[in-house]
Amino acid sequence: MKYVEEFRDLKTVNNLVNKIRETVTQKWNIMEICGGQTHTIMKYNIEEFLPDAITLLHGPGCPVCVTPLEMIDKAIAIAEKNDTILASFGDMMRVPGSKHDLLSVKASGGDVRMVYSPLDAVKLAKDNPGKKVVFFAVGFETTAPANAMSVLEAKRLNINNYSILCSHVLVPPAIDALLSDKNSKINAFLAAGHVCTVMGYNEYFPLAKKFNVPIIVTGFEPVDILSGIYSSVKQLELKSYSVENSYSRVVTQEGNRHAQEIIKKVFEITDRKWRGIGIIPLSGYKIRKDFEDYDAEIIFDVGLIEQQESPLCISGQILQGFKKPTECSAFGNLCKPEHPLGAPMVSSEGACAAYYSYKKLRTKVN
C-alpha cells in the first residue's frame, strides 16, 4: 500500500538505526507526545533497535487517558438518562469512571452507540427526533475540526436534539507544563503528526526556544518514528534546539487553515483539567456562547457527581514520563485491559495497555 509500506521498510529502518547509533554519544530522554506513536513503538518493538543511551518516554497524547474523570462521569450520567442516546468513539466506552464505564451503562439498558465520526452522531439525531443525541467530543486538535463541524452541520440542518459534551485538550500547553516541572527529564519531543496536520507547527518555535528542546514533528510509521528519533539525537548532540518537520509528506508549517477556522468558529480556549495531571492553563477548548444550544454541559443538569479515582493508579506519573507502567504496583495484576483501574490501560494507545500487550517478550524470533 503506497505511503504506508515504504515507511515500514526493513532497509530504511536499518539505515536509520545505524545512523542513530553512529550519532549518539550520551544518554538522552525523548518523549513521543502522541499515543498513536506509543502504539507504533510498542507494536514494532522499536526500542529493540535503539542503543541503551536512548530512553523513550511516553507522553500524555492519548485522549482517552487524559479526559478528566468528571467528564467521563458526566457522560455516564447523561447516558443513563431516558430518551438520550450517547454516541462516542469506540475507545472511550471502556474508560473507567468513578463507578463504572459506558459499556456497563449499555449493558444495563442505556442507549450508548459507537460511531466513527461526529457527523454520524448528527445523523443519529436526525433519525431519532424523539431522543436527545449527545456526542462525547474528546480528543486533541486532531478531532476538534470534525467535532466543531458536527455542531455547524446540526445548526445548518436545524437539528435541535443534538449536542456535544466537549472535553478537548491541546498539545502545546501540555508541553509547556511538562517542561516547566523542575523534575522533568525530557530532552526532546516527537510532536504529534496528526495534531500538526491541523494546526501546523508555528506554536512550537517559542517552546523549543524557551526550554532548549528539539521538537520534531513526527509521523506514525516505524520509519517516521526512527527519523524523528534520529533528528532529535542529531540536534541534541550538536546542542541545537529547534523545530523540525520530519512528517512533511503530510504536515505544513501553517497547517490546515480551513480546519482551524472551523475550530475557531465553534470553540474558544479555556483552562482544562487533565486526568492524573491536573489543571493546565489554557489547554483546552470549550464551546463558544453562540453555540451553547449545542453544549451538553449546559443542556443537561447531571447534579453533583462524587468522583472517586482508584487510589492505586499512578497514571499521572506515567503520562508525564516520571514512571514506567511496570513501576505501578497494580500493573498486570489488579489493573489489566479487561479490568482497567486507570485510563492508560484502556486504549491501545495508552502506555499501560501497550506495555501490557507487548512487553512480555523474552526472545527474538529469527
Binding site: 514494532y44 475507545d91 466513527y116 486533541f140 489489566k336
Partner: protein
C-alpha cells in the same frame, strides 16, 4: 419425576467470577478474548466438567459403538444478517461444518434452530433458507432436524440461528491443540480478516465503501484433501472470532508451547489493509469464516502446502510460522521491520481508536 433440590448458593457455590470484575454480562464477554475465556472457564467448564468437554476443542469427540464421533454447536447472531459475500444462513452452515472439519471429522448431519423476531419479513427468511440449502449442498451435509421459535417484537434482533452438527472421524486421525509439537510448521490457508471487515463495512453507523467480501465457505473439502495426503496433522483451527491471533494464542496456551510467526508471510488484500489502517484495527484479531490454520510436522509441510494450493479455497496458502519450546504459552511475531513482538490475546472486542 426426579426429585428437585434447592441449591444452596451460600455453601461454597458462590459465583466464581470475582465481584471486582463485572456483575453484568458485557458484549466483550462474547468477543472471543480474555473476558470470554474467563466466563467460559469459570462459569461453564468448572461446572460442566467432564473428560470430553475438558479437551476444549472446536468439537466434542467421543466413541459410540466403535465409531469416533465429532459433535459441535454454534449460534449465529451476526448483524447485519445480510452482508457482502453472504448472510446469516450460509454462515450458520459453513461455521458448523468448519468446526467439525477442523476436528478431523467428515461432517454429516446438521440441525438448525431459528429464533425469529415477530415482524421479520418472510421474504428475508426465504432468502436465508435458500442460502442454507445451497451451503449444505455445497458442503455435502444434510440438515436433518430443526426448531423454530418466535419472540415478541423488540425481544430479538431479527433472527438468530443455532446449528449443531455431527461427523465421523476416520481411524488414525488425532487432532487436538494439545498435540502441537516443537518444530511443527503452521500453514494458513489464505488471506485474512475478510469476514470481519465485510461485516463492519455493512454495520449501521460504520458504513464505509469497500469491495471486501466475507470469505464464508465450508472447508471440509479442502481439509479432507489434506487428511488424505497425511493423517499426521497435529492441530487444526478455523480462526473465526478473534482472528488468527486468538486462535494461535489458544493453541499456545493449551499446548504450553511457544508459537513464532512471520508478519511478511501473512497475506492480506490491499482493501483489507486499507480498511484496517483507517479504522485502526489489527487484522490479526479480525474474524475469518473460510480459513484454516494447520499444524503439521515440518517434514510434511511442503506436501500439505502443495495439496492446499491446488484447492480453490487454499490457493493463497503459506507457511506462516513454527512451534517452539521457547516462550511457552506465547505467540511472538517477527514484524515487517525485523523486530519481534508479542501477539497477545485480546481482552474484549477491538475498539476503533479516536485518531
Amino acid at each position: 419425576m426426579p426429585e428437585t433440590k434447592d441449591i444452596n448458593f451460600s455453601n461454597g457455590l458462590s459465583c466464581p467470577i470475582p465481584k471486582s470484575d463485572y456483575d453484568k454480562v458485557l458484549l466483550a464477554h462474547g468477543g472471543g478474548g480474555t473476558l470470554s475465556h474467563q466466563l467460559i472457564q469459570k462459569l461453564f467448564f468448572s461446572q460442566f466438567d467432564n473428560d470430553v468437554l475438558n479437551v476444549h476443542h472446536d468439537s466434542a469427540m467421543f466413541d459410540i459403538n466403535g465409531s469416533r464421533i465429532a459433535f459441535t454447536t454454534d449460534s449465529y447472531v451476526v448483524q447485519p444478517i445480510f452482508f457482502p459475500g453472504g448472510n446469516i444462513g450460509d454462515l450458520a452452515i459453513n461455521g458448523t461444518v468448519n468446526d467439525l472439519s477442523v476436528s478431523g471429522a467428515n461432517p454429516l448431519y446438521i440441525s438448525a434452530g431459528f429464533i425469529i423476531e415477530e415482524g421479520f419479513e418472510i421474504e428475508e427468511l426465504w432468502k436465508i433458507v435458500l442460502s442454507m440449502k445451497e451451503a449444505a449442498n455445497k458442503a455435502g451435509v444434510k440438515i436433518v432436524t430443526g426448531d423454530t421459535k418466535v419472540v415478541d417484537h423488540g425481544k430479538g434482533d431479527k433472527i438468530f440461528i443455532n446449528t449443531s452438527g455431527i461427523g465421523l472421524i476416520e481411524p488414525g486421525i488425532n487432532i487436538s491443540p494439545k498435540n502441537c509439537r516443537e518444530g511443527d510448521a503452521i500453514i494458513l490457508s489464505g488471506r485474512i480478516a475478510e469476514h470481519g471487515i465485510a461485516i463492519m463495512s455493512a454495520r449501521e453507523g460504520l458504513e464505509f465503501e469497500t469491495t471486501v467480501k466475507s470469505d464464508s465457505a465450508s472447508l471440509n473439502n479442502l481439509i479432507s484433501g489434506v487428511l488424505s495426503k497425511t493423517k499426521n496433522v497435529h492441530v487444526m483451527r478455523d480462526p473465526t472470532r478473534g482472528g488468527i491471533a486468538s486462535a494461535l494464542n489458544e493453541i499456545a496456551e493449551s499446548s504450553g508451547k511457544g508459537i513464532h510467526i512471520f508478519e511478511e508471510k501473512i497475506s492480506l488484500t490491499e482493501e483489507v489493509k486499507g480498511a484496517c489502517e483507517i479504522l485502526g484495527l489489527d487484522p490479526l484479531y479480525i474474524a475469518n469464516e473460510g480459513k484454516v490454520l494447520i499444524f503439521v510436522p515440518n517434514t510434511e509441510a511442503e506436501g500439505v502446502l502443495n495439496i492446499m494450493k491446488k484447492h480453490p479455497l487454499g490457493k493463497e496458502s503459506s507457511i506462516i510460522g513454527t512451534v517452539t519450546e521457547d516462550d511457552p504459552g506465547l505467540v511472538i511475531m517477527k514484524t515487517l521491520i525485523g523486530s519481534s513482538r508479542i501477539v497477545d490475546m485480546i481482552s474484549g472486542e477491538q475498539l476503533p481508536r479516536i485518531c
